[in-house]
């Protein structure tokens, strides 16, 4: 009470206003710095002190923080974009043209939104990989692993719904291809796809549905889940503490104050990334093709780049297997990861241990050798539906190759188990890494090596046909 009185004894109104905003001087001792973190709404997301080792760049790479920053950039640029956009097929494309030509900084705003969204997909995936390889999904952190995967799916959903909004050819056909994949889910798929599209084809109702999801449902869910994610990080005792592979005992917990050690790094990191995004957005325009034409599918018609791995799978498997069954199994495997990837107390070590590192390297080499060979083989030699003409395509072109694939994985696992005497942890690490690299190779093949008619060709010939 006495303090309040002395506060109000500032000599004039401006002084009292300034005082209401918070402390007027930066603290000079650790006690004051810790106090400041606790008293500030934004800063108190952090603990007052953090383990010195978790501040290493080369441990976290700042990926979680960067994701949060990108979300803020996306929300703020998104609000501005909404002011110049009408979600109707008659108006949407013209609005984008107006935004680019006749609106001050409209083009820059659109580019920043576009590139931040694409960067967020990449950064969110890298964040997941960092957590997996350092064992950050184990024990009590399992909940945050699951929350994180849900957020990753929301990021993809947000990207996909946003992809349609410019209503150009790229948008129209990417969304047509993407939503058609849905209709292969047995029983539920057809009604679900109709619900999402608001009709049998992508049209006015689809644009309005996607707009509503993109500007309200997904961002609100993201912000709520992000709060939960941050809160759980604190609840679970902060980040995992990095240690070297050879260190056996728990590392000493040397703690430093959050101000300045963590906050300073975060600010420098955020400003550097903002600069990179701005410069990139000034130099590289977001793609925009001609207005959507439901009559003419472009050749080749490609999904957004983060779905190209999936689309590449569709070239090799019946859609029920390639787009529903395999991704479904992988997704369930990801969600359940903390509950079977157990044993080995190597939290905080990249690739868990020296042996883990070797296992990962082995998996990368195996995938780099096997995947291109398999893609070429399937493209030019294997022709299941012709070899098994009397069988339905789902079996001949779906379940039969899937069975061979599973057999292949089983054999790889056996090799790792018998030849290298791998532990459960190392086997999971091997398979995860193999699938990861395989997916990256499929994605790169889809983006760079598929040209007209989705034929395999060299990257420099892909664009040449146009």
């Amino acid at each position: 009470m006495q303090e309040n009185q002395s506060d109000n004894q500032q000599e004039n109104m401006w002084g009292r206003m300034r005082q209401a905003l918070g402390p007027t001087e930066l603290p000079t001792d650790d006690r004051g710095r810790m106090r400041m973190v606790v008293d500030n709404l934004v800063l108190h997301l952090h603990p007052a002190k953090v383990p010195e080792r978790t501040l290493r760049w080369t441990y976290t790479w700042g990926l979680g923080g960067l994701s949060a920053m990108l979300l803020m950039v996306l929300v703020s640029t998104g609000v501005f974009l909404q002011m110049n956009y009408t979600p109707s097929p008659a108006q949407a494309y013209q609005d984008i043209l107006n935004l680019r030509m006749d609106t001050w900084f409209g083009d820059l705003l659109r580019n920043v939104h576009h590139w931040s969204a694409n960067l967020l997909v990449l950064v969110a995936v890298l964040h997941l990989l960092r957590v997996f390889y350092t064992g950050g999904h184990r024990g009590p952190r399992a909940v945050n692993w699951i929350v994180g995967i849900i957020m990753l799916l929301l990021v993809l959903g947000s990207n996909f719904t946003g992809y349609l909004l410019p209503w150009d050819q790229l948008a129209y056909w990417a969304v047509t291809v993407g939503t058609s994949i849905l209709s292969y889910i047995p029983l539920l798929g057809e009604p679900l796809s109709r619900l999402l599209l608001g009709g049998p084809e992508v049209g006015a109702a689809t644009l309005l549905n996607f707009y509503a999801l993109h500007i309200s449902f997904i961002p609100i869910s993201m912000v709520m889940l992000m709060s939960l994610h941050f809160w759980k990080v604190r609840k679970d005792g902060g980040l995992t503490i990095p240690k070297r592979a050879k260190e056996t005992e728990e590392p000493k917990m040397e703690r430093v104050t959050t101000i300045p050690h963590l906050v300073r790094k975060e600010l420098v990191f955020a400003v550097a990334w903002l600069a990179i995004i701005l410069i990139w957005s000034m130099l590289v325009p977001a793609p925009l093709e001609g207005i959507a034409n439901p009559e003419v599918s472009p050749n080749p018609a490609k999904a957004p780049w983060y779905f190209m791995g999936l689309q590449e799978m569709l070239l090799h498997f019946h859609p029920l297997v390639g787009a529903v069954l395999i991704p479904g199994i992988v997704l369930v495997g990801l969600f359940a990861m903390p509950f079977y990837d157990v044993g080995g107390a190597s939290v905080g070590v990249y690739f868990r241990s020296q042996r883990g590192r070797a296992m990962a390297a082995l998996a990368v080499s195996a995938a780099v050798l096997i995947m291109p060979a398999w893609i070429l083989l399937d493209e030019f030699v294997l022709n299941w539906s012709a070899w098994l003409p009397s069988w339905p395509a789902l079996i001949s072109n779906g379940l039969v190759p899937l069975a061979f694939l599973m057999l292949g994985f089983f054999m790889l696992d056996e090799v790792v188990l018998r030849r290298f005497k791998a532990s459960l942890e190392e086997r999971v690490l091997f398979l995860f890494t193999f699938l990861l690299v395989a997916f990256v190779i499929l994605t790169l093949t889809g983006i760079f090596f598929r040209g007209e008619g989705m034929q395999l060709m060299w990257p420099w010939l892909v664009g040449a046909a146009h």
């Binding site: 056909w173 047509t176 291809v177 939503t179 058609s180 994949i181 109709r194 619900l195 599209l197 608001g198 009709g199 049998p200 084809e201 006015a204 109702a205 549905n209 439901p294 009559e295 003419v296 599918s297 472009p298 050749n299 080749p300 018609a301 569709l314 070239l315 019946h318 859609p319 539906s385 395509a393 789902l394 072109n397 007209e452 008619g453 989705m454 034929q455």
Partner: protein, 169 residues
């Protein structure tokens, strides 16, 4: 705290405790409300059908406009009218059964070739080359007084070619 305990022990042994009955009633009511809310949301989100859009009966032209062995694009019906060499009509929906791309007719190759994943189909819409899992969908065709009409309201999914679906004038 003590009175609560007394209540639960006092009623032990009776067939249904009042507390449990009320709990169950609340759970059932809550469940019903959730189902209701879900149903309402689903009903609300059902496709909105606008008048005058693709989805009605569309006249393609006179029977004689389409020579046997020809394939003609009918843009307003989003389909190709294929007149087979024996004079029968099929209205083939242009939406690929693989992933929904619009399949153009290739006059020189006499095939439908999908640009997205290079599925190809013959003049009846049957699959020549996967990945398309089934023939192109068709629309019912009616021929009234020499005019070919296409009912675009209900595409028919075919698992295989059925000659009974070909319409003769």
């Amino acid at each position: 705290m003590a009175s609560k305990k007394d209540l639960s022990t006092a009623t032990e042994g009776e067939p249904v405790k009042r507390r449990d009955l009320l709990k169950t009633a609340w759970a059932v009511l809550g469940g019903l409300a959730a189902i209701e809310l879900g149903g309402i949301s689903l009903a609300y989100m059902q496709p909105r059908l606008a008048e005058g859009e693709f989805g009605g009966l569309i006249s393609a032209g006179n029977v004689d406009d389409f020579p046997p062995g020809s394939v003609t694009h009918i843009p307003s019906a989003r389909c190709y009218l294929s007149r087979l060499p024996d004079g029968g009509f099929l209205a083939i929906y242009q939406r690929c059964t693989h992933l929904g791309c619009s399949v153009p007719w290739d006059q020189t190759a006499q095939q439908f070739v999908c640009p997205c994943h290079s599925s190809s189909f013959d003049t009846q819409g049957d699959v020549l080359n996967p990945p398309a899992p089934r023939p192109l969908d068709i629309f019912p065709v009616v021929i009234e007084e020499g005019v070919v009409k296409i009912d675009t309201g209900s595409p028919v999914a075919r698992q295989a070619i059925d000659p009974g679906q070909v319409v003769y004038s």
